[in-house]
Amino acid sequence: MTHKKIVFVSRKAPYGTNAAAEMIEAVLVTAAFDQQVHLAFLDDGVFQLARAQTPEAIGHKPFAQNLTELGEYDIDHVWVERESLAERGLTEHDLMIAVSLVNRAAMAEVLAEADILMSL
């Protein structure tokens, strides 16, 4: 299979819609296919990475825990947009995993360099 750089763009909050949960499912499957997989979190998508989520309170599984296991799935890079965090009163210390913080202009470059953009 051809080897491509696939950037999954996640811009939705973790709950409220199942977009984020279904995105992670697709990420993990794609990573298993020996592709260069990147994740880009921007807008409300950055909330997916917030520590200490308790979705059990609204009857949801803590799917975001999967994000802490990304290292085991050979994910190449996790990008987070600095402005999106700041606009929501978050800093990188509030995130559950180590990420590459980039500003909006640099995020545009990350997306521009992808062979495939995957947005759910």
Binding site: N18, V29, F33, I116, L120
Partner: protein, 119 residues
């Protein structure tokens, strides 16, 4: 050029499946190849054979089946997304096939252009 399409919106709640259909027809009419249409999330509801909108209303599910019959386009729905929404072999519309998410990866990697239609 080789195209692959992803549909993530259901047939009733959103314009996205109609746009995807129009795009698919345009791709084929210009002589390009449409290797696969993959349905994920609410998109799997396009494959529900039991959907029966009034005859004067839009019916994307039926139109997908026609596209498959007329052009041999492969329509694949995600098994996990389908089972949780009650789509099974027993109510699967003609032309659709149930398979895994790996088919999405395979299609997007093999295509020159991968286009998503969602909510």
């Amino acid at each position: 050029m080789k195209f692959a399409i992803l549909v993530t919106a259901g047939p009733q709640g959103h314009q996205a499946p109609d746009s995807a259909l129009a795009f698919a027809k345009a791709v084929l009419s210009r002589g390009h190849e449409l290797s696969r249409v993959f349905f994920y999330g609410e998109g799997v509801l396009n494959a529900n054979r039991l959907a029966a909108p009034p005859s004067d209303e839009r019916h994307p599910g039926r139109d997908w089946s026609r596209l498959a019959a007329e052009h041999g386009v492969e329509l694949v729905i995600c098994a996990n997304a389908a089972i949780k929404r009650g789509i099974r072999e027993v109510n699967l519309a003609p032309g659709f096939r149930i398979s895994g998410l790996g088919q999405l990866t395979e299609a997007m990697v093999a295509a020159d252009r991968f286009v998503t239609f969602g909510p």
